[in-house]
Amino acid sequence: MKKRWFILIAVVLLVAVVLAACGKSSYKCEDPYGCVNVAPGQPIKIGAALVLSGPNESLGVDSLGGVEIAVDDFTAANKDWLAKGKHSIQVVKEDSQCSAEGGQTAAQKLAADKSIVGVIGTNCSSAGEPASKILSDAHIPMISPSNTAPSLTAPKTHAECYLRTAHNDKVQGKAVAEFAYKVLGARTMATIHDGSPYAEQLQQVACDVFTQLGGKCVAQEAINVGDTDMRPVLTKIAATHPDVLYYPIFIQEGALITQQAKEVPGLEKTVLMGSDGMISPDFIKAAGKAAEGMYLSGPAAVNNEEFNKKYEAKYGQEPPSAFHLHAYDATMMLLDAIKKVAVVDKDGTIHIPRKALCQALFSTKNFKGLTGTLTCNQYGDCADPKININKIINGKYVPVWPKK
């Protein structure tokens, strides 16, 4: 008998709870992709899928700083909005590495967490390709601070809710080719890529533009990530005597090529060029003196005094790479869009409709960021792309082109 009473009481209680819940919430989620409901006292969670280990760690550390400082700034500026439901903003970090596998794992972990509202990441385009698809399938918007491969925002291959604040490499490749042809006076160029979408597409754009300008791409070679002996491939390239050797790859292999190029006969006069994947003190450390005089293209918006001060105060070092401001802007864009579409309930619960959030991001217009004025196109390119060519002088990246 006792048992029946117990069940009856349980049912009554359950009904009461359900009724109470209905009574309390005035919000009904009508978004086709559903809503994220953040109960009072709970944090609003955004993911950060960045390179947090391995040889390219500095890229991730750099971006993560941008994300965390943006969160601090946003929290400080929106105290009242957050205070209603005692919310805070939490950054969930995942290591996306600099590979397709890493990007896939990080994205799947983040997609499995239904309370994640949006994701900042990834650093490498190779990780961005699978991650953008997985997160878009889970209706989680993803904004990358440093994916630059053109295919990620190409009309046919872009993911539904993927955006980026980094430049598209169509811009960077063009800048590299123009610098090589017009400023260095180069007429022949050789390239090396590592099979990653970033490197492969970037060197292709550079080669195409260089050819249009009237130069000639004499060799387009490739190596593997993890290769150490670059002398054979450099020997092959040396046979073509290029004026410029352009290898837009990453720190470890880039440093090996830089060092070994000096030792291969036939490349003594060749000018070495790389790109933003190698802008890091780790590259200078790994390549040593051989890096002196090398040219590297990268985003123009790197130094912002106010931001650098905050960064140094928080982490005790200068931002180690080139995309911290892009990460800051990406995070601000995401948080602003969240605030725009979010509905705050009477009890302080925040409801964030997913499709509306994605649409809000794509309709970003004239967003004043630290990297410039951002306007997103329908494929997700939001950057205000300005490219600098830096020269390594005394172990420092010094911008040399375009001249101010």
């Binding site: 280990s53 391995g54 040889p55 760690e57 500095s58 890529h193 099979g195 387009q220 070679e221 490739a222 190596i223 593997n224 993890g226 290769d227 150490t228 002996d229 002398r231 054979p232 491939v233 020997t235 092959k236 040396a238 046979a239 720190i251 470890q252 440093a255 090996l256 060092q259 030792e263 006969p265 780790d282 450390k285 790994a286 390549a287 040593g288 003196k289």
Partner: protein, 356 residues
């Protein structure tokens, strides 16, 4: 004789024939590639010689690591997959001494002494890591089925990698340039980087030393005895545990030196650096015939030369663009071919039949 052939034909299966045809097809493609490349005449003679020199020096490092695989396999019949990381442990630790010596200027004022010190430190580190691995991961499993130590070896490999990541961080460090080894020199009309020359000479000396040790000393004799039959050897008064420990010490010391040589050629060290050389050296050991000391040396050099020459000589002749990306394909195709035509490796033991 005819009976032998008859017996051979009876045992021949379709699978064997298919596999041989597959191997032959690869060989034919390779020959077409070589002819194509020679016809192209893209490279000069000096460049071909450069490739060979690159290959020999890379091969020397492979061979030194491969010896560690082969020694342990010869005695325990297990593949010590943590060996690549033992190599990393030496190279990475040596870096810190190199950086300190460089800071005080000793690195370039007394290069030979510094090099010896760095090698000593690398050897000691590698040996310590190897001994701990042997004691913790392998010795308790001496009587377990052969698959079990293989799995623990993989576990040990990860443990070592991430321990060193915790100790030294996950960044890339670079050995400073040693001035006396910068630049080229010429030997028998071959232009060769001084670093390569050093690596080739040292690796050959070390291998000769190891061979002499195994063949002509009492300890070497004990080693060979344990390799042949552990139980009988122990009945003859050989302390099997000690011989095994000796073997690990030898292999690890060679790996430590190989680590420093590798770092002299490629400069960069990081916690994951042992993985690929480890796999390649294992391939070299199998190509040469695992368990066989001269085989590992031969395998290392052959693999190194094939890797350096293969893309230019074979793949380009076939018109494959960006051929250097496929360097590893050459290495592992070589492995497949050796396994098809000589399953016990180039100098593999022909003992199996006699043993049976």
């Amino acid at each position: 004789m005819s009976e032998k052939i008859k017996y051979f034909l009876e045992r021949l299966s379709w699978v064997d024939i298919m596999v041989w045809l597959f191997g032959l097809a690869i060989l034919v493609i390779a020959v077409i590639g070589v002819i194509g490349s020679i016809h192209n005449a893209y490279y000069t003679k000096e460049q071909w010689m450069d490739f060979v020199v690159f290959g020999i020096s890379q091969g020397g490092v492979y061979a030194l690591i491969a010896l560690g695989y082969t020694l342990v396999y010869g005695i325990l019949f297990m593949i010590n997959f943590a060996h690549g990381d033992i190599f990393m442990a030496g190279a990475f630790t040596g870096y810190f001494l190199a950086a300190k010596l460089n800071q005080y200027g000793i690195y370039n004022s007394h290069p030979i002494i510094s090099l010896l010190l760095i090698m000593l430190l690398a050897m000691v580190t590698s040996v310590v890591v190897a001994l701990i691995t042997e004691r913790v991961a392998y010795r308790p499993l001496r009587k377990a089925p052969r698959l079990v130590p293989l799995i623990t070896a993989i576990g040990a490999s990860f443990t070592i990698e991430y321990t060193f990541r915790g100790l030294y961080g996950s960044g890339v460090e670079a050995y400073p340039d040693m001035k006396i080894f910068v630049g080229k020199t010429s030997v028998f009309g071959l232009r060769i980087l001084k670093v390569h020359l050093l690596v080739i000479i040292l690796s050959i000396l070390l291998m000769a030393g190891l061979y002499a040790y195994v063949q002509y000393t009492k300890a070497g004799k004990a080693m060979r005895a344990v390799a042949e039959d552990k139980d009988v050897a122990s009945l003859m008064g050989v302390d099997v545990d000690r011989v095994i420990v000796n073997t690990f010490i030898l292999g690890a010391a060679l790996a430590g030196i190989a680590g420093v040589l590798y770092a002299l050629i490629f400069k960069q060290v990081h916690f994951f650096m042992g993985f690929i050389p480890g796999i390649k050296a294992f391939t070299a050991a199998v190509v040469g015939g695992i368990g066989n000391v001269p085989g590992a040396m031969l395998g290392g050099f052959i693999l190194g030369i094939f890797e350096a020459l293969g893309p230019g000589l074979i793949l380009e002749g076939l018109g494959i663009p960006a051929s250097y990306q496929l360097k590893d394909v050459i290495a592992f195709t070589l492995l497949v071919l050796v396994l098809i035509f000589r399953p016990t490796g180039l100098m593999g033991e022909r003992l199996s039949e006699e043993k049976v």
